[in-house]
Symmetry: C2
Subunit: 136 residues, 2 copies
């Protein structure tokens, strides 16, 4: 059997052969978020049971406030920002890790002057996010 | 149910509450490799089906030449080095990604003057590595 191993070279937070996509295709509220799927959906990668994505949020941007049953494992690899995690929120800087437990409401924000870029790993088979209404 | 979400703050490639361990406990050949398990084995993290580890290899060091049936997803987050992947080898720099397919022989080396540090994500339930003899 052909060895399907590979290296994806990085250049400025873009990766060889990886498309930069909008964060979500539906009309959930978010601002200035892009995603790249690094490993798990490419050719020959079906043996991975988890998907490694890179999300980048521009200064002032934020992801959707949402929850779901699948957990997230995140590692920040660029810039700074903030995460809402249940009823708390935390500052984030490079290499901080975040565990989003099943059902936890969460939102990521590039709250300062810097881009926030993070890896987010999830199960290949997972439930869809449920939108959470902002508190008035 | 208590929300088990958490943030692990990073400081110089060490993480709050995460132990720095030797790479392997058995006598497989390797040199100057340390590991930290960032997410997946801590308290309240049993819902993660995959484990996010950080490996760091000092200049001149290398991991064991081995293979196994579980795939690896890697993202380099520090320094430079090289990976042997089947019959080929590749230079690695920060943010390069590596997919190690099932059964592929692989070895990571901090081949230059820099430390090589990378995230390596694997299934929680996985087979044990099989040592591969170096070619004479």
């Amino acid at each position: 059997m052909r060895d399907r191993s590979k290296v994806l070279k990085a250049r400025g937070f873009r990766w060889q052969g990886v498309e930069v996509r909008q964060y979500k295709a539906d009309d959930a509220p978010y601002k200035d978020v892009r995603r790249q799927t690094l490993l798990g959906e490419g050719e020959g990668e079906a043996d991975l049971n988890f998907i490694t994505r890179y999300f980048e949020i521009q200064p002032g941007g934020y992801s959707t406030l949402e929850r779901h049953q699948h957990p997230h494992a995140l590692v920040v690899i660029r810039g700074r920002g903030r995460v809402v995690l249940g009823e708390r929120s935390y500052d984030l800087a490079a290499f901080d890790c975040v565990y989003v437990a099943p059902g936890a409401v969460h939102q990521f924000e590039a709250s300062g002057a810097e881009v926030l870029g993070f890896l987010c790993i999830v199960d290949r088979v997972r439930d869809r996010p449920e939108l959470v209404a902002e508190q008035p």
